[in-house]
């Protein structure tokens, strides 16, 4: 935990989490700092001084440049750059070139608030078609506790502190790509037609539908991928880019099964597989709830899911008031559980704006 008590004035005044609270507080940051102040009442004065500094600096130097204007200017700038090109630029899409590195790098490089993303796809003849219009989102967890991020396909990511996940609002046609800095536990919904790829610090982890943890902190010399369920392929990013989508034998990757982990050394780009030495990496987080459901009312069932996964499930209580669920869960990921529940109830679900929305026609009363 960042010990803010030890921070100097300068460190505090330039700390992102602190500044966000002063200039644009969110419920999370508000809760955190109110709590912190309650626990550290001797710091109140000091905090107030730094608040004053931050507020003054913002007021004095801030501008109100509009997003639109920035976009416009950047577009103009790039136009000018292409016109000024006297020397031919190396063709980006020639066959020998690492297409994936370019695509991945382009996709990789979004800060928060980017307005559109271009996805590059390789056609049969190696030519690239560019898909526009899918916005890229970013969730950063600056707080102390992990947060839950819901992806468009129903996959759930438990993002640990000091971590950032970049992901598209909607997934593309051929694959599901996300980018991780830091640590997270993934529960990926099954879709063999669309592999799920996590890019993290020089590695690419490819799965079809499974649950696993990735540790890829900025300062760490290694990246770790540990599997709870399913099968996971881990590549070095360089290798992966050379393979692109072509099916390949296992030599270039490390294939992991449950209870195995891969360690990637960033410096020499070596991948090694070992057994998991820290079982808590993949242990289920939930308190020991009962997953053997016998005629459980849906409201209770969803409440239990919320407790476990931190996801909000919205449904029509009236319509579903007679719905009961009887099933047993062991190791299933959240998306799998939702599928099973929906099958049992004749319902369906969709992910909308970080919430799960369940629709159902209701359940007939038992005679």
């Amino acid at each position: 935990m960042n010990d803010y008590r030890l921070y100097t004035l300068e460190q505090l005044a330039t700390d992102d989490w602190f500044c966000q609270w002063v200039t644009a507080p969110t419920p999370e940051s508000d809760a955190f700092w109110s709590d912190w102040l309650r626990q550290n009442p001797d710091q109140a004065d000091r905090i107030d001084k730094v608040r004053l500094l931050v507020q003054t600096v913002q007021a004095r130097y801030g501008d109100n440049l509009s997003d639109d204007l920035v976009r416009q200017r950047v577009a103009d700038l790039i136009d000018a750059a292409s016109q000024s090109d006297r020397t031919p630029v190396k063709p980006l899409w020639s066959a020998g070139r690492t297409l994936w590195r370019v695509a991945a790098a382009v996709v990789l490089l979004f800060g928060a608030g980017w307005w559109f993303m271009q996805q590059q796809r390789v056609g049969d003849n190696g030519a690239v078609s560019v898909e526009q219009g899918i916005a890229m989102r970013e969730r950063s967890n600056l707080a102390d506790k992990p947060i839950t991020v819901l992806l468009a396909d129903g996959s759930v990511v438990r993002l640990e502190k000091n971590s950032t996940l970049r992901f598209p609002e909607r997934f593309g046609a051929a694959r599901r790509q996300v980018f991780l800095q830091g640590e997270a536990f993934f529960e990926v919904s099954k879709n063999p037609a669309k592999p799920f790829l996590v890019y993290a610090n020089g590695t690419v982890t490819k799965v079809v539908g499974t649950s696993f943890r990735i540790q890829a902190s900025e300062q760490a010399p290694t990246v770790l991928v540990a599997v709870r369920t399913g099968r996971v392929a881990v590549y070095s990013q360089k290798e992966y880019e050379q393979i692109a989508d072509r099916p390949v034998s296992g030599e270039k990757s490390v294939l992991l099964t449950p209870n195995q982990q891969a360690v990637f050394t960033r410096k020499n780009e070596q991948l090694a597989r070992t057994a998991i030495d820290q079982p808590e990496l993949i242990a289920p987080v939930a308190p020991n709830l009962d997953w053997n459901w016998d005629d459980k009312p849906v409201a209770d069932a969803f409440q239990q899911l919320k407790q476990t996964y931190g996801v909000d499930i919205s449904f029509d209580r009236d319509v579903m008031k007679h719905c009961l669920i009887t099933t047993s869960f062991t190791n299933e990921t959240l998306p799998e559980r939702l599928d099973i529940i929906c099958q049992a109830l004749g319902a369906s679900y969709a992910v909308q704006n970080d919430k799960i929305v369940l629709s159902s026609k209701g359940c007939p009363l038992e005679e």
């Binding site: 600096v57 440049l65 950047v74 490089l109 800095q181």
Partner: protein, 201 residues
């Protein structure tokens, strides 16, 4: 004092990669760099001029020159300060051409600052007054002190990056910031122990 000399911004992994890509001739990477740093550059430019065309053209010049010379530009971990420095130089040359600033042989930081407060989330009247007081105190500092303070607390650069941007020694930056905080500490109230804490650095 910050315990590191590396950039504090966590985006830097991305921007270093972007830099690498643009150098390799990827024009989209240039676009993303521009998009990412535009606001910071714009804001810095406004501290030297209010001529919006000059600002627009100068920022454009920075990136066009970068693009033209991409094969000769070195790889760097300090993208932001590189760009800010580049902008500073561009503005300086523009002023030289216009034969302004003959009185001072350096750019005049925030010369036209008026001590008015833009509306923002300010709790109450007391706070507003405090901010005004602190503002006035900052205005009493030398131009170089003000610029160092701005780069430190608004642009969040490390001492090393500030030195790079302003074209001065790192120790000079440390002194500038230190003295500035010294001078304004009275306005900020009794920060005695606080001051001692960072005198160690």
């Amino acid at each position: 004092m910050l315990s590191n000399s590396t950039p504090t911004a966590k985006e830097d992994q991305w921007s270093i990669q972007l830099w690498h890509e643009f150098k390799a001739g990827n024009r989209e990477a240039l676009g993303h760099l521009a998009q990412y740093y535009y606001r910071a550059l714009y804001n810095y430019a406004t501290k030297f001029t209010h001529n919006s065309e000059l600002i627009r053209d100068s920022i454009q010049d920075v990136f066009l020159e970068l693009w033209d010379r991409r094969e000769f530009v070195s790889q760097t971990d300090f993208v932001k300060s590189y760009l800010l420095k580049s902008l500073r130089n561009t503005l300086f040359k523009a002023y030289q051409r216009q034969q302004r600033s003959l009185l001072t042989y350096e750019l005049d930081f925030d010369a036209h600052h008026e001590d008015t407060i833009e509306s923002q989330l300010i709790e109450n009247e007391t706070r507003t007054q405090q901010i005004q007081q602190l503002n006035q105190a900052i205005s009493q500092l030398s131009k170089r002190q003000q610029e160092a303070l701005y780069l430190r607390f608004y642009q969040k650069l490390s001492n090393e990056e500030i030195a790079e941007t302003m074209g001065i020694e790192r120790q000079s930056v440390a002194n500038l910031v230190h003295r500035s905080l010294n001078q304004i500490k009275d306005i900020m109230g009794d920060v005695g122990p606080l001051l001692l804490l960072f005198l160690w650095c």
